[in-house]
């Protein structure tokens, strides 16, 4: 589904953020992408979407991520921003959800149907006519995911989805993510959430891919986590 071959990402010629990244993701997998602040997690997601330049090759469904393929790549990938305020730029949730669908060329009835279906599926019908600036952070996060799902992407990329959520909203959010049967890549420092949602974990650190394996192997490996400025998930620390 997604393949990275010798990917390098640099913000300028002197500062290499990520060097020689290689991995592939199969359809239906849920990947946790973890690492310290500035490890390049968000940059890697943005490179997949063609938002920032990179060297090497990134394939999304066999299409190379390059200018001529961006439209199809971006239809396949749905990206959830770290800050929901940046995702929700229209006045209401409904208008925000309609924005992407209208750009896809859908007519009014199809747009209405898709919005209603997604909101119903996520049990967020009550948010439909609400103004974005009146939503709580939790509601905004939920609405942001609805705007992406309405476009029916095959892969969902989520950048720190549970940051700034209170425990109840975090739990709701995790349940919602687990209910989504699609390929997912989640970046986070919330390792308990990564453990709840993902089967496979990739660790980035010092500009390189430091580890790639099953969640049990990585998230219980204190040495690997600490070498990369991370800690064991809280659930394992108590044991």
């Amino acid at each position: 589904m997604i393949k990275m071959e010798h990917v390098n990402i640099a913000y300028d010629t002197n500062e290499m953020v990520l060097k020689d990244i290689n991995f592939s993701i199969k359809e239906g997998e849920c990947i946790g992408l973890i690492g310290a602040n500035g490890a390049g997690k968000s940059s890697l997601l943005k490179a997949m979407l063609g938002l920032i330049p990179y060297e090497g090759r990134i394939y999304v469904e066999d299409s190379l991520v390059e200018k001529k393929n961006l439209a199809s790549v971006r239809k396949t990938l749905g990206f959830l921003f770290q800050n929901a305020d940046e995702q929700m730029f229209m006045p209401t949730v409904y208008e925000d959800m309609a924005f992407g669908l209208l750009n896809m060329g859908l007519n009014k009835d199809e747009v209405e149907k898709r919005i209603d279906d997604v909101l119903k599926e996520l049990r967020l019908d009550y948010l439909k006519k609400k103004y974005n600036h009146k939503l709580s952070i939790g509601e905004k996060r939920m609405a942001a995911i609805a705007t992406i799902l309405a476009m029916q992407p095959k892969v969902l990329l989520m950048d720190e989805p549970t940051s700034a959520l209170d425990p109840k909203n975090r739990r709701l959010y995790i349940d919602m993510m687990n209910g989504l049967k699609m390929t997912k890549i989640i970046t986070s420092h919330d390792l308990d959430m990564i453990y709840s949602c993902c089967e496979r974990v990739i660790v980035l650190g010092n500009g390189k891919l430091q580890a790639d394996g099953g969640k049990e192997d990585i998230l219980r490996n204190k040495k690997v986590l600490e070498e990369n400025h991370l800690e064991l998930p809280l659930a394992f620390q108590r044991l």
């Binding site: 730029f89 006045p91 209401t92 924005f99």
Partner: protein, 264 residues
């Protein structure tokens, strides 16, 4: 709540007002836009001494504000930053134009005073009409109407994005000034020595946020043109032709003369 925060809320409240449910909210945006443009044109074209002619134009905002359930006073309050500018531009009229045009109860009214009052009234009417348009029409619908008038796509997109980014920039102003006042509790405003770095930071932060939003838009298929939901509006012939005819009558002074004739 600081001033910038209040300004952000006021901008967002306009979006909410535009989502109202009155007769005026359901009229085609194109009709409202054309009527408003005609109104502005007719009001601005009135001669500087034609106070009674300009005064008649007040009927449009008074009646339409009542229909749309809006408050004229609230509208004036929201435009409080523009009114001093209008007054300032015309403040010298009474000093330069001393020609006495009218006597009211033995009090001489000079051309300068009349033109001063007329121009301020014109300014208020223009602001009321513009506010009425944005408070009863969603920004997207307004842009759709602009496209129907064949305003270039790029200009319309620019207008819409500026509107969206304005709120964003004000949010940054609000955050930064809050952080500033928390560390300078005794100060009333931002000290002049901090203006340079404040503005520089504001620009950088706004650009960062604007870039993120632009990315969010691109990822949802935005390729330089806003696609808007097509909505059908009931015909509003009475509103459209009725007001255009009234404006012509107001402007020609026919009604002003007729009303004046009643009192003379």
């Amino acid at each position: 709540m600081n001033k910038a925060e209040k300004a952000v809320i006021e901008i967002k409240q306009i979006d909410e007002l535009a989502d109202g449910n009155s007769y005026l909210h359901h009229i085609s945006p194109l009709s409202k836009l054309v009527v408003t443009l005609a109104y502005l044109l007719f009001v601005m074209s009135c001669p500087k001494y034609a106070f009674s002619t300009v005064l008649l134009f007040i009927l449009y905002p008074i009646s339409m504000y009542a229909i749309a359930d809006l408050s004229l006073w609230q509208a004036l309050k929201r435009m409080r930053f523009i009114l001093p500018l209008i007054i300032f531009v015309n403040i010298l009229n009474p000093f330069f134009d001393q020609q006495i045009l009218l006597q009211i109860g033995g009090f001489p009214l000079t051309g300068g005073i009349i033109s001063f009052i007329t121009t301020i009234l014109k300014g208020i009417l223009v602001l009321w009409a513009s506010y009425l348009l944005v408070a009863t029409t969603k920004m997207d619908a307004l842009c759709q109407a602009l496209r129907q008038l064949h305003i270039p796509k790029i200009l319309v997109s620019l207008f819409l994005l500026t509107y969206r980014y304005l709120g964003l920039m004000m949010e940054e102003v609000s955050r930064m000034s809050e952080a500033y006042y928390l560390r300078a509790p005794d100060q009333k405003g931002i000290h002049i020595s901090a203006w340079g770095s404040f503005l520089g930071q504001l620009l950088l932060r706004s650009m960062d946020r604007a870039t993120e939003i632009f990315h969010a838009m691109k990822l949802r298929g935005y390729i330089g043109e806003y696609r808007l939901m097509e909505k059908e509006y009931p015909p509003a012939y009475l509103y459209f032709f009725g007001w255009l005819c009234m404006f012509v009558l107001f402007r020609l002074g026919i009604l002003a003369e007729w009303i004046g004739g009643i009192f003379l």
